[in-house]
Symmetry: C2
Subunit: 361 residues, 2 copies
């Protein structure tokens, strides 16, 4: 769920989904991933960009490449189930790309939910996998609700009242299928802003709004280029601290994955094994009763909320995921407008890899 | 998780846990509950008081009695499973006391988690059941993590940007067992402040801090005497709106329970069936590996967070549930200090029911 904001990239050149998928896939192959794995990563990273998760889309290609070249990612991982019960599994990602681990995790969770009504799959020795909603959305195609929790790949906030950065933005995503309405998809960091959004602001040369970050003296930090001098603010103060910790316990500590001091800052360390922990849950709607009746109830609720009387100056009431849904449709139709600075980086990277550049139209 | 605050009730007369449990049990019997059910409600309401959830403890006895006498609660409910899979069940509470429904739900979730690794039980036609953490804590005795979600029994906030109160404070509770450390127990409404805190400010003639409530123009509402003119603020703005909605979808809509416009304001309506929805989940630690090793990891994390360097003026770093844990221990040792006004009400109520009053010592 993103803050209502105007799309300022209308006039920029457009890249189609197929082009972006192909570009990332070829780059990943050149970087040494097996073809099938490169295609999976390309598909998921392009889909992240498509749905407007620009902090977790193709902007991540260069950092991933840096880590791959430094030997910090296993290009031939043996991703395997190390613990299992009828309703759960624990996956060892063997330090492979997080996208590969979490797509597998989602598949297993869906299979288990089909039998048990619910399925939960955790990961250890995984890596950054892109936007949380990418995986929470997967069960929806099977008439299931999806939930996703992850430990972020760098600590950006201290415990409430503290100064040591021991917690990350630890996101939560939940995707609920509707009938005629778009699905309700919440995708939120437990901080006021996700660190990916800070990076995106820096990339665009923009200042951050007050409330996203503070420095160690407690003063607002507005320049995203100074982000390392401060920390992100949790939502609702001590409540967001509690949520971040709980997500970390469920996605990290439970799985034997990194949490607290063990979390590697993957912005500054390309070689250490991150031991990233994530968890995905699938809830099979048919176990609760008639699926169409459930979806009709969601539609009714969505319409009630949207039809609420509005505050002065508010043009419309948004449901979580509704803007992303619209962006996805527009991007599928018109192609995606990447920021010029990012396009330039990607062009240089393509030349370096000896592969075709992205051809915007 | 409550805000750090001093215990101002030291000098007041004390009631033991056994006394309070007995008092509520007898009252519930006089009100017409079968003896075993009255004992369950007495035990759970007294435990809510013991852990410091005073807004959900014995203060609820009179409102419950009012609803029972008005015929708004079924005293002989046929609480039964209406949908089931190996990892889930849907309970029809038959409009019985929520405590009875949710204790049964917790038991079933624990049994299912023992087999499947995880267990999820939802409710429909349930009622208010006390503090969320009361049920999230139950799986811990079986070396399980507990999660609890509920639809609140009155709508206090509109969708983000809206004016129609269609959402409740829909709480989330998660309880994670530790080893030598107290368990980590998060219990939070998805609003910045609970409505009870607003009422307390009004009684003391104090202003509310900015951020608790807004008026119908979106401006901060600071005078608690004007609370009826505004709304509670969700945590993190649109994020808290999203969280409240998601909790409502999981605990209400999924179960065919009330959500949105269907939610009855149980402060002003004693007779309509509330069709309250809740959900509890149990996660069996042994499915993930060695339980003692998990608890040791939680201990390590808790100590890292507590040992963080602190901001100026901060005396200590609290973990979620740590203050409630301390209060529980102190109340078990010293007895509970009920506010004199509440004691007076309970005395009058006991006389009305022709039963012994609470004897404070």
């Amino acid at each position: 769920m993103s803050e209502p904001q105007a799309d300022t990239r209308q006039a920029e050149p457009r890249i189609s989904l197929a082009q972006l998928r192909q570009f990332i896939t070829v780059a990943m192959t050149r970087l040494g991933l097996p073809e099938a794995d490169a295609a999976t990563v390309g598909r998921l990273m392009a889909e992240a960009e498509l749905q407007g998760s620009d902090g977790h889309g193709v902007i991540r290609l260069l950092p991933y490449a840096r880590r791959i070249r430094a030997g910090g990612l296993n290009l031939r991982p043996n991703i395997r189930v190390v613990q299992e019960r009828p309703g759960m599994a624990l996956l060892d990602g063997d330090n492979g790309m997080g996208h590969l681990v979490m797509e597998r995790a989602a598949q297993i969770a869906i299979e288990k939910a089909r039998v048990c009504g619910i399925g939960w799959v955790g990961s250890q020795f995984s890596n950054h996998a892109g936007p949380a909603s990418l995986y929470a959305r997967m069960p929806m195609a099977h008439d299931m609700i999806g939930l996703y929790f992850a430990v972020g790949n760098a600590n950006h906030l201290p415990p409430w009242g503290g100064l040591d950065m021991l917690l990350s933005t630890n996101p939560i995503a939940v995707a609920v299928p509707a009938g005629d309405e778009p699905p309700v998809v919440l995708d939120m960091a437990t901080t006021v802003a996700a660190y990916g959004k800070v990076k995106a602001k820096a990339q665009r040369g923009e200042m951050m709004p007050e409330g996203w970050m503070i420095d160690r003296t407690g003063a607002p930090l507005l320049d995203p280029k100074r982000a390392e001098e401060g920390f992100l603010m949790p939502i609702g103060g001590y409540k967001g601290y509690g949520l971040s910790l709980i997500v970390g316990l469920l996605a990290g500590t439970l799985n034997g994955a990194a949490m607290g001091r063990q979390v590697i800052d993957f912005n500054h360390d390309d070689t250490s094994v991150t031991n990233t922990g994530q968890a995905i849950m699938a809830i099979d709607l048919s176990a609760w009763g008639d699926v169409a009746a459930f979806k009709a109830r969601v539609d009714t609720l969505v319409r009630e909320l949207r039809a609420s009387e509005r505050m002065p100056g508010v043009e419309r009431i948004w449901l979580p995921g509704e803007q992303s849904h619209a962006k996805r449709a527009a991007n599928e139709r018109d192609g995606m407008a990447l920021p010029p600075a990012l396009l330039k980086q990607l062009d240089a990277f393509a030349q370096e890899l000896g592969m075709p550049t992205l051809q915007a139209t």
